[in-house]
């Protein structure tokens, strides 16, 4: 199928990725190439085939709900770009 700039722009928006106009231009062409190649999958008759999302024959994996030690808070928070006390700081969400 043909993928236009608007579709790429929309997917980038969904993925929360800012693209510069030049990037959008280039990416649209490259994604078109890739999708043209991937369109080969349409040659196959797959009506009767079940999808494989995962290779292992396993369903739900349960464990007992036991309380365990957590990671030390300081060590985890040390990686954050912005902190106040023990909280992550982000730009204002509610106006």
């Amino acid at each position: 199928m043909a993928i236009d700039k608007e579709t790429v722009k929309y997917a980038a928006k969904l993925a929360r990725i800012e693209l510069k106009p030049k990037e959008l231009e280039k990416l649209s062409l490259q994604l078109q190439d890739t999708l043209d190649f991937i369109d080969q999958l349409k040659k196959l008759d797959i009506k009767e085939i079940n999808p494989t999302s995962h290779i292992l024959p396993m369903n739900n994996v349960f464990r007992e709900d036991k309380i365990k030690d957590s990671l030390p808070i300081k060590k985890v928070l040390d990686n954050a770009p912005a902190l106040e006390r023990n909280f992550f700081v982000v730009p204002k969400v509610i106006e």
Binding site: A15, I49, I55, P81
Partner: protein
């Protein structure tokens, strides 16, 4: 020197762990400015690691507590994991010294050359103008250049085997579920596996003994007894049934690679294996399926990099609200290939395209898996080239993503089917670039891979050759 040779020397008290780590650090300082197998070298190698045993080098996407783990991406700059990956815990328990410097990779393992690393590409020790392969190119180059005794990489579509092939070393992708993925920064969760990159097959088996096994921290790890893989190191393949898939020897492959791999196949026959041509009819669709499934899973896995909990946050003036901050952080923090894959994956999962792309790819994945199931009913293993070409030049494919994707054409199927596969050296081109032979077996039958690989290795000289780094 291999790890097993060093073990023997340690046991005979001919060397100390300190000797090993010192000489390795010297080698890294001397050679790495040329090979660039490691990243952030200037801020590391200062502290002396625990001097208890054999050092191991780790890819930059496997969490090492307190040591930077950045997936060679700007968006994870400065990230120091607060915990060790399960494979690291197991290595430490076995007495290994985990090096504080990490090996180079394509950003988030997106690539086949290490050119997508935010630190720039590693070099192939056999020819410094060529790529080492990828994404675990730093690990493979380090092992080949004797800057590492052995190393861990990760393999989502060939990221251990293709660089092992390009650098003339041994690389194994274990069965999906054999090695815990806990602490491996996820790319595509249904395909990723951690595995060894080593100088010979024996080291590969020893390392698999250490890292394999069930882990409650990884819900996809399988609770099956781990055999002693060194028992698979049997120099005998008489009567072993090997399938040669005709779809892997088609046009587009390098003529020299074809000849070298065919000679390796003859060698296996001379050693007593029972060879027959087989068919894996859906091989041609593997790359397409992969670039839908892997990018879809990646688009979801990489949503966690949003500038809030760790790593890079854009300081642009536009970041007035939360969404702007996310978009600007991700737009500036991810490299080109990461953005390309996240957007492709998001597209394939988006409303209106899900059935046409993602669901269709999952169905064809079933067909690819069934191809292997059929062959393994009658055969012990399958032998193919690891890559259609030897190492290519830096810059040769980076501008054409599709061309780069096609360099994984022979390795991707094993990930889609979840089966184990090993790459071992099987010769050199006229320009002295290594060529790799890939052996595949059915799920949880790594022992068969070790047996076939060990027999071939012990009866050929390739693993003894060393690059001259000028």
């Amino acid at each position: 020197m291999t790890a097993h040779e060093l073990f023997d020397k340690l046991n005979r008290k001919e060397i100390s762990p300190r000797d090993i780590i010192t000489s390795l650090q010297d080698r890294i300082r001397q050679i790495d400015p040329k090979v660039k197998a490691y990243v952030r070298l200037s801020d590391s190698l200062h502290q002396t690691p625990i001097l208890s045993g054999i050092p191991i080098s780790i890819k930059d996407n496997i969490c090492t507590e307190g040591y930077n783990t950045e997936c060679c991406s700007k968006i994870l700059a400065g990230f120091k994991p607060p915990y060790d990956a399960t494979v690291i815990t197991k290595l430490k328990e076995a007495g290994a010294t985990v090096l504080d410097v990490k090996t180079n990779m394509d950003e988030f393992a997106f690539g086949s050359s290490t050119e997508n690393s935010c630190f720039g590409p590693s070099r192939n020790p056999w020819n410094l103008e060529c790529v080492p392969g990828g994404s675990s190119g730093g690990s493979a180059a380090a092992v080949a250049a004797d800057e590492a005794i052995w190393a861990l990489g990760s393999d989502t579509g060939g990221s251990i085997r293709q660089p092992a092939s390009f650098c003339g070393v041994v690389g194994l992708k274990p069965t999906y579920g054999r090695v815990s993925r806990y602490g491996l920064i996820a790319f595509a969760s249904s395909l990723d596996q951690i595995g060894p990159i080593t100088k010979d097959v024996r080291d590969c088996a020893i390392l698999m003994n250490i890292i394999s096994g069930f882990d409650a921290h990884d819900s996809t790890s399988v609770d099956l007894k781990v055999p002693d893989y060194t028992k698979g190191l049997v120099n005998d393949i008489k009567g072993i049934k090997i399938g040669i898939p005709k779809e892997y020897f088609v046009e587009g492959m390098d003529a020299e690679v074809k000849t070298i791999v065919q000679e390796a196949v003859h060698k296996l026959k001379d050693l007593g294996a029972d060879l027959k041509e087989v068919t894996l009819p859906h091989t041609e669709y593997a790359v397409s399926v992969y670039y839908i499934v892997a990018t879809a899973e990646a688009s979801s896995n990489l949503s966690r990099f949003d500038g809030v909990q760790y790593g890079f946050r854009a300081k642009s003036a536009k970041s007035k609200n939360l969404i702007d901050m996310y978009e600007s952080t991700r737009g500036n923090g991810f490299g080109e290939e990461a953005k390309r894959r996240i957007i492709l994956g998001t597209f394939a999962l988006s409303h209106g395209y899900y059935d046409a792309y993602y669901l269709r790819a999952l169905k064809v994945r079933t067909l690819i898996k069934e191809d292997f199931d059929k062959v393994f009913k009658d055969f012990d293993c399958i032998v193919t080239p690891t890559s259609p070409t030897p190492a290519f030049k830096i810059g040769e494919k980076i501008k054409d993503p599709l061309k780069m994707y096609l360099s994984d054409i022979y390795t991707i199927s094993a990930n889609l089917a979840g089966i184990p596969a090993i790459s071992i050296p099987c010769g050199f081109t006229k320009k002295r670039l290594p060529v790799g032979l890939q052996i595949l077996a059915k799920a949880f039958n790594e022992e068969m891979l070790f047996r076939a690989a060990y027999t071939y290795e012990q009866n050929t000289p390739w693993h003894l050759e060393k690059p001259k780094i000028e």
